[in-house]
């Protein structure tokens, strides 16, 4: 059954890709419809209306996203079904190589990630029709967008369903290529082209690393199906090689530091609903790949791997959020925060690996659950935030925080929905972001149970880094909300922005916000639902997730830690409501409106507020060594002999150190090598004859 839903979702995605091709086929389709439906006047009139000049565009646009919605729904149902009954269904499709046809398999792990994919996808399908309308009149055809969106989604779903290395890689690369075309969709901007190139290049290298990782297993397992790979028995050295290759490959897609450089370039330049899918879902597919490879396919786990993952994850988390904090472009900021969240997920995975390798299965399971939960949460609120940013972009054509402000007055509905996303990504109770981070902390705090003292001291340190990260994340998103939505508008078009009109463009984010709230308040059922999954991977189910009843979350034991988000929400509502009643209802003192305090000078302007750059300045100074900051002050002078300075303008630009240290040298090296090689080809035929002459001599000398 769930397999059926999975196929349904894939087919629906491909269908929407096909439908997209029909953008400019109105006339043809009309003639076709007339030819077919001549018999039935009623249907004929319907068709006539659909294919009329006026309706066709809209009909086409909606059909695209309705199909995507079905795809999302199918994925969600399939995933839930599998998680419920924990069944493992396999099937073999007649595609692929003659001696290796496509193996399909859906198990709880895949099911969970199908859910992770399904929810944002449904939100996007609500959101899309309103968002892409403006593209219809642009120079870039909607057909390309729709086609590659469909392929992108289908690719991601197939990655989850693949049960042999070959199909996995096909789907994986399909996902990469399709998203590449989506990044390059508005290719008249040079930045987009550059980002797309970088993205595809790194995707390619990562993919090769993954292929090699599979190659190692296939060499020992003697086959390319996942069953064969599971059967491979490797010595620790080869296992570590495979693991590192896998970490590089999947980490590159997931955006771990320092191989994250493509991410903040590529995610912002894609159309926003695509950014939502890329940041919210695609990165999770990479996480899925890592989990599948490490927890499922590799037959052993070494604690060194856990340490490696833990360290890299912690680094990604803190660096990601530090860079996010310094961004002025909203979508770029969100992309960097994705690096941070993926880092957090990998910290949890690292903890889980360490515990599993040291035989603490239940704690390993706890870490894994925390990681999965955070992956889901990030998928939800990051998609929500990207859709919100897209809505702002759509209404005001503004991406830079420096020009925003006061949007809460202009677009109150969006502001309310966006606030939910902000609070949950800032990991504040009682929303979902907090639950997963709480679980991760709980996992880390059990580090005392590990034999080796080094690890015992390493784990708390990592968790402290995590604490720093979450605090910085709060800072970062307070900044975002405060600068974008609160205060006074910083530019004219923001001051006259209109709230989102299209119902779906609010409905999509609203759906996600609802999920955030729900998971935040009632995490227990979900975590219990993961039991089948953890049982499959670690052979262990969290013992007492709800030892005190369904209200309580007690991951380890009631005495160790407990958290009842529902009661927290209740309590806050009660206290807050009580105060409100006592303080407002009793004394009916209406607040008086007045000018804010201006030190008595008068005339506060929006230019006097703290800008986004100013807000993050202390952090910038405190963490100086992390950034490569380019600052400049330009003075506008006037008056006699331009002595008097009338205006000062301060520019600053924060560059990614990874970029300067890793990528640019590599590029230069390649060019130098190419030049060196080029010297060999002089163009003189006698030299060429010399080459073949000496090749011959050399070979003769070799063999005799």
């Amino acid at each position: 059954m769930s397999l059926f839903f999975a196929y349904l979702s894939v087919v629906a995605a491909l269908m929407s890709a096909l439908v997209a091709l029909a953008t400019n086929w109105r006339a043809r389709l009309q003639r076709l419809a007339e030819a077919i439906l001549r018999r039935w006047p009623h249907a004929h009139s319907v068709a006539a209306r659909i294919f009329s000049e006026t309706h066709y565009r809209e009909f086409h646009r909606y059909s695209l996203f309705v199909l995507l919605g079905f795809s999302g729904l199918g994925a969600l149902l399939a995933g839930l079904g599998t998680l419920m009954n924990g069944a493992v269904l396999t099937q073999i499709l007649p595609f692929g190589l003659p001696w290796l046809s496509w193996h399909i398999r859906i198990d709880p792990l895949a099911g969970f990630f199908l859910c992770v994919l399904g929810l944002p996808l449904m939100a996007v399908s609500l959101y899309g029709p309103g968002y892409v309308r403006e593209f219809e009149h642009g120079k870039h055809p909607l057909s390309a967008l729709g086609l590659f969106t469909g392929l992108f989604v289908a690719g991601m779903e197939l990655v989850l369903l693949a049960d042999d290395a070959f199909l996995f890689m096909i789907a994986w690369e399909l996902m990469s290529v399709a998203s590449y075309f989506l990044v390059a969709y508005q290719h008249d901007h040079a930045a987009n082209r550059r980002a797309a190139f970088l993205y595809l290049l790194m995707a390619e290298i990562g993919a090769i690393a993954i292929i090699l990782a599979y190659g190692v297993l296939a060499g020992f397992g003697g086959g390319l199906t996942f069953d064969a790979l599971r059967g491979a028995s490797l010595n620790p050295l080869w296992a570590s090689i495979a693991f590192v290759l896998g970490l590089i490959g999947f980490g590159m897609k997931a955006g771990l530091v320092p191989i994250h450089a493509w991410l903040p370039e590529a995610h912002p330049v894609a159309p926003s609903h695509i950014s939502a899918l890329m940041s919210g879902v695609m990165l999770k597919i990479a996480v899925y790949g890592f989990i599948r490879f490490t927890f499922d396919l590799l037959n052993q786990i070494l604690w060194q791997w856990g340490v490696l993952v833990l360290v890299i994850g912690a680094a990604s988390a803190v660096l990601g959020i530090l860079y996010a904090l310094q961004q002025q472009n909203l979508k770029r900021l969100l992309a960097y925060s994705s690096v941070e969240n993926i880092g957090i997920v990998f910290v949890a995975l690292g903890l889980s690996l360490i515990f599993l390798s040291s035989g603490q299965a239940h704690l390993g399971t706890l870490g894994l659950v925390a990681a999965l939960l955070h992956a889901l949460n990030h998928a939800l609120f990051k998609s929500l935030l990207f859709l919100g940013a897209g809505a702002i972009l759509h209404q005001t054509h503004e991406q830079s925080l420096e020009n925003m402000g006061g949007l809460i007055h202009r677009m109150p509905k969006l502001a309310a929905v966006f606030l939910v996303g902000t609070l949950s990504i800032a990991a504040l109770p009682p929303l979902n972001g907090f639950v997963s981070e709480w679980l991760i902390f709980q996992t880390a705090l059990q580090g005392g149970l590990i034999e080796s003292g080094v690890l015992r001291s390493l784990i708390p340190t990592a968790s402290a880094v995590l604490a720093l990260t979450s605090a910085l994340a709060a800072t970062c998103f307070v900044k975002v909300y405060g600068v974008a939505f609160l205060g006074l508008p910083r530019s004219h078009h923001i001051a006259h922005a209109r709230d989102v009109q299209h119902r779906g463009m609010l409905g999509g984010p609203l759906l996600l916000a609802a999920c955030c709230g729900l998971i935040g308040v009632l995490p227990t059922p979900l975590i219990n639902g993961l039991g089948t999954l953890t049982h499959q991977l670690t052979g262990f189910v969290l013992p007492s997730v709800s030892a005190l009843g369904w209200l309580w979350l007690t991951p380890v034991a009631p005495k160790v830690a407990s958290y009842a988000p529902t009661l927290v929400l209740l309590g806050m509502a009660m206290v807050g409501g009580l105060c409100y009643y006592l303080l407002y209802r009793r004394t009916r003192l209406e607040p008086r409106r007045a000018e804010p305090w201006d030190c008595g000078f008068g005339g506060l302007t929006s230019a006097m507020q703290y800008t986004s750059g100013a807000f993050s300045m202390p952090i910038r100074r405190i963490f100086q060594p992390v950034f490569e900051i380019r600052e400049s002050i330009e003075a506008q002078q006037a008056g006699p002999a331009n002595i008097r300075i009338v205006a000062l303008r301060y520019h600053f630009h924060v560059l990614d150190r990874a970029w300067l240290a890793l990528y640019e040298p590599a590029g230069r090296l390649v060019l130098r090598l190419a030049r060196g090689i080029g010297r060999l080809q002089t163009g003189n035929i006698r030299t060429y004859l010399g080459y073949s002459f000496f090749t011959l001599i050399f070979l003769l000398w070799v063999i005799s």
Partner: protein, 314 residues
């Protein structure tokens, strides 16, 4: 019964907070040999503010109006889960110490948002500084807390206190370090000298005050009260985690009364220490706060390491 007791305790907590603030003020005045107001002055102030008509600046949105309630509510909730006079109250099961930090974060977030809602330089300045300081203080605090929880094997506050009570007086180097770290963090988080000066009226030096500059009337009352509760929260945390002796482990009236007396005593002493330090030190530059908090973090890490190296027999 237990629930009723828990609610009563919470009410007591909330009610006693201004008293502590008044007491600290009084001691400070004495130290600076000024004429001191009565210890009940804070109550009068709150009542006065409550009666006044609040003023909302023009750019303010609903966030500005909602923030005080959320701040107050989150603080009260935090107060509810910290054992004051008795351990094993049901409320302490609702949330553990990490959630406590979460509550603080929630309240802070809304206060900061409210500060930025007005669109003045002061609001932004205060918010930025507040977030910076807290983002440095939070890891330090968690590290300190983790030290405790790792030896107690629980993050649940009353469980931790039980653990300390059961083991009796043990001189743990880790606890000493953690205590130092937690005190430093507490000073920073509650906005006392040398990090922030609650009594200042020069906008440029304000942090906490700058954020709430626009508040008045009942809103201001709520926020002031919330910060008083927060101050007391930290006091109770330090007192009850590191010196839990005297706290009631069963709900008989005598033990409860004894516990109340004990906590009052401990808080009074802590208040004395705080007042003394505030009288002795001067406020420091904003960009030296990082060194201050870095030191707090260092203490906590040392605590953690000493716990691992010195205390676990393996």
């Amino acid at each position: 019964m237990a629930w009723l007791l828990a609610i009563l305790e919470t009410l007591l907590f909330v009610g006693a907070a201004p008293l502590l603030a008044g007491w600290i003020k009084r001691v400070k005045c004495r130290l600076q040999n000024r004429k001191a107001p009565s210890v009940f002055q804070p109550y009068r102030d709150l009542l006065k503010l409550y009666r006044k008509q609040p003023i909302a600046p023009h750019p303010a949105s609903w966030i500005f109006r909602a923030a005080p309630y959320i701040v107050f509510a989150s603080t009260v909730l935090a107060a509810a889960i910290v054992p004051l006079v008795a351990v094993d109250l049901p409320t302490s099961r609702i949330a553990d110490i990490i959630v406590l930090v979460g509550f603080f974060a929630l309240g802070r977030t809304f206060q900061v948002l409210a500060g930025m809602d007005i669109g003045t330089a002061f609001g932004g300045m205060g918010s930025s500084r507040e977030m910076t300081i807290s983002s440095l203080a939070e890891p330090a605090m968690l590290m300190a807390v983790f030290t405790l929880t790792m030896s107690a094997h629980t993050t649940n506050l009353s469980q931790a206190m039980n653990y300390v009570l059961d083991t009796g007086l043990v001189l743990r180097p880790s606890f000493v370090f953690a205590l130092g770290g937690l005190i430093l963090v507490a000073i920073a988080e509650t906005g006392r000298i040398p990090v922030d000066n609650p009594a200042t009226h020069l906008e440029l030096t304000m942090i906490h005050e700058a954020m709430i500059l626009e508040y008045s009337g009942r809103w201001l009352a709520l926020i002031e009260w919330a910060s008083q509760i927060k101050l007391m929260l930290y006091g109770v945390l330090i007192a009850n985690i590191f010196f839990p002796w005297g706290i009631a482990q069963d709900f008989s009236l005598t033990t409860l009364g004894y516990g109340m007396a004990m906590i009052a005593l401990k808080l009074a002493v802590l208040a004395l220490v705080l007042a003394l330090s505030e009288a002795l030190f001067a406020k420091m530059r904003i960009f030296r706060v990082q060194e201050y908090l870095g030191f707090a973090y260092l203490l906590s890490v040392l605590g953690m390491l000493s716990h691992i190296i010195l205390e676990t027999a393996r």
